[in-house]
Amino acid sequence: MSLGVEEPASAEPDRPTAIGGSTRFVPGQSHDRITVVNGKVQLGQRLVDLWRNRDLLVLLTRTELKIKYKQSVLGYAWSMLNPALVLGIYYVIFKVISKTTQPHFAIWLFCGLIAWNLFNASAMSSTTVVVGKAGIIKKVAFPRELLALSTVAVALVLFVIQLVVLVVFLLAFQLAPDWPALSLLPLAVLALIVFSGAVAVFLSAVTVYLRDTQHLAEVFLMAWFWGTPIVYSFGMIEPHLARWHLTWIYLANPIAPIAMSFQRAIYGQTSYTDAAGVHTLLPSWGLGGYALMLSAILIVSIVLFLGALVVFGRLEGNFAEEL
């Protein structure tokens, strides 16, 4: 709730002075800060509060990781089990059963999955985080958005681990990424984080009022996954999309261009040739085209994030009662 509007406090000559003690009560400084609690908290103030409490975000994230993975190497290895299984299953289905001829198909899969996992993990855990931390919310005042953001941070940590595994894969297969295209990655990751944050903040607040959001989100995310070029390639379905003029609607899914940027940068190849001819994997935009796409997504994500904060702020007021 509102650790609200800060105002410049008037000078006060009559403040009590400290008595004894070294770390005690120094008049002035932050002690003159005025906090206002009322119905409305301005968006700007929310952002300031979030920034002020960044230490708390780090701690909440660390707490979550500690509880989940017990701070052990084995614990983190365990966290890789799920992504590894997913990767394995799709690999078996497409390589062994449907006999795709795409070279290094595992790497291709991994590039898209790693981006998707960040989004998916933060969205899924954001649906339980506020309800799960009801004890804290009812008794302590702090910017509650941090709970949602901590799910993104946790997902980000797992993302980094997966990225390391991916690099190991590249070394093992002796594959080089597309070096110039790698410059797209920071922008892609940033856009992905901001977009995931927007979704997480929104979902975490809505779940308090509609507890079945969790299950709806699960189904919705599954559909979303298949609407994103991860297992298949954008080049594969583009002709079909173009026939119905759906290409841009398809690309309006922010995860799609982000995943494609990952594939472009790490997998590197935009097409491959087999006995049947040339297969396009990725559109032949220049790197500038990708960068433009990603910038647009980043801007939209920032707007969505601010919108999510506003929605969160409206719903948050009654958290302590609803939980």
Binding site: M1, R33, I34, V37, G39
Partner: protein, 421 residues
């Protein structure tokens, strides 16, 4: 003085749902309609709490005092109105709120401190102090789930008070730990008071209020009944709680109906004139001067006795017909007579009240206006001299052979009378 907390027209409405739909499925099925009864937990509460003041909020369960505290803390959002808090604030609504059982004490100190608004560096600076205060040096790296409830609460208190807030909100949590730790907590609170910090305490323990607070606010059904110095505030609260008369908030927050007023109150006992104290079992007479602006037929006189720890020892039945007195215009003297006071050592204070029978107005209540002292000459100890018989008989005999041993009848006491008597 500047106000540390300004509370302006705070109202808080809760919605009581007969049936709550918490999922989209249910909402769709019921067409999105959710009938509810509005319940006002707080209604237009306004108060300024000064900097450096220790302010008490008294009230029965469900009067809205905790809700108000949560609004000040920023946990609940008021339906209307505004609260301004100057400086940093820490709320102790529940000790150890937000502790993660799976984390060590060390990690929990950092997490809890952060939740209360400290930065990582600030916590690191105070870490040793917190651990020492909680007396948990040996267990700080153990998981909190293996802590005893006492250790848990101690750690929670240690973190909360070491946050060094300008404003500290306390909700009936001071009674934690063993006696030694309790004293430590109280000492710490006293130090915070001396340092000029603002403390808001919510409780229904009147003695804590009397000892610690400069002002007390009494609440009832979400409204402020009175804001006054502790003696007066506690009088109003007790008057309400003990059924001496339900105090209604008047226009100026005072108790209405001052037709009758209590003047001088005197206590006389069996030894009056000769000695200052009375012996257990002696009589006590309390007289109270009543001034009356008009004649009041059937006013009810009540009396209460507290010990020196401000614990209530006795309060007369407010509806007992023997307490009914017809007060003529001009007034008179009410006499309360206890034929026997079976109390043991101590200083006791007497409170006297008078209220109307026809409605619930309290005319007047003098809180702890006079004192009397009881000195116990025997070696029995405790609070009350219970009438006691001790007898002895031989095992074999059924009914005969009773040997009276000791009786604590006044006859025994008579031997202890003053040598001069």
């Amino acid at each position: 003085m500047t106000a540390a907390i300004q509370i302006r027209d705070i109202s808080k409405q809760f919605r009581l749902y007969s049936e709550k739909h918490t999922s989209l499925k249910e909402r769709v099925i019921h067409g999105g309609k959710m009938p509810f009864t509005p319940f006002w937990a707080l209604r237009d509460v306004s108060v300024d709490i000064e900097q450096g003041e220790t302010f008490g909020i008294l009230g029965r369960n469900g009067c809205g005092k905790s809700t108000l505290l949560k609004c000040v803390a920023g946990i609940l959002k008021p339906t209307s109105g505004e609260i301004r808090v100057r400086g940093s604030l820490a709320a102790m609504l529940e000790l150890g709120a937000g502790f993660q059982p799976d984390l060590s004490g060390r990690d929990n100190i950092f997490l809890n401190g952060s939740l209360l608004g400290l930065s990582h560096n600030e916590i690191a600076k105070r870490f040793d102090e917190i651990v020492a205060f909680a007396e948990l040096e040996d267990f700080i790296d153990n998981q909190v789930k293996f802590y005893s409830s006492g250790m848990y609460v101690r750690l929670g208190f240690a973190v909360a008070v070491n946050v060094d807030p300008d404003v500290l909100l306390v909700d009936e949590v001071l009674a934690v730990g063993d006696a030694a730790f309790q004293r430590k907590c109280l000492d710490h609170v006293k130090r915070l008071q001396r340092e000029g910090r603002t403390i808001v305490v919510v409780s229904h323990a009147t003695d804590t209020m009397r000892q610690n607070c400069q002002r007390v606010m009494v609440m009832k059904q979400g409204q402020v009944i009175t804001i006054d110095e502790p003696g007066e505030g506690i009088r109003v609260f007790l008057a309400d709680l003990l059924g001496v008369g339900a105090a209604e908030p008047g226009k100026d927050g005072s108790i209405r109906g001052n037709v009758l007023a209590i003047g001088a109150v005197h206590a006389e006992h069996g030894g009056s004139g000769e000695r200052m104290h009375l012996y257990p079992g002696e009589s006590l007479t309390v007289t109270a001067d009543i001034d009356a602006l008009a004649s009041v037929p059937g006013a009810m006189a009540t009396i209460a006795i507290h010990d020196d720890a401000h614990e209530l020892v006795f309060a007369s039945d407010p509806d007992d017909p023997i307490a009914a007195v017809d007060v003529p215009e001009g007034g008179g003297i009410v006499r309360f007579h206890f034929p026997e006071v079976p109390l043991l050592d101590g200083t006791y204070s007497v409170s006297v009240g008078i209220r109307s029978t026809t409605d619930t107005a309290v005319f007047d209540w003098k809180d702890q206006v006079t004192k009397f002292e009881v000195a116990n000459p025997t070696r029995s100890t405790g609070k009350v001299r219970l009438p006691l018989d001790v007898s002895f008989r031989l095992r074999g005999s059924a009914t005969t052979g009773e040997v009276p041993a000791v009786t604590s009848e006044p006859a025994v006491l008579a031997g202890w009378e003053e040598p001069s008597a």
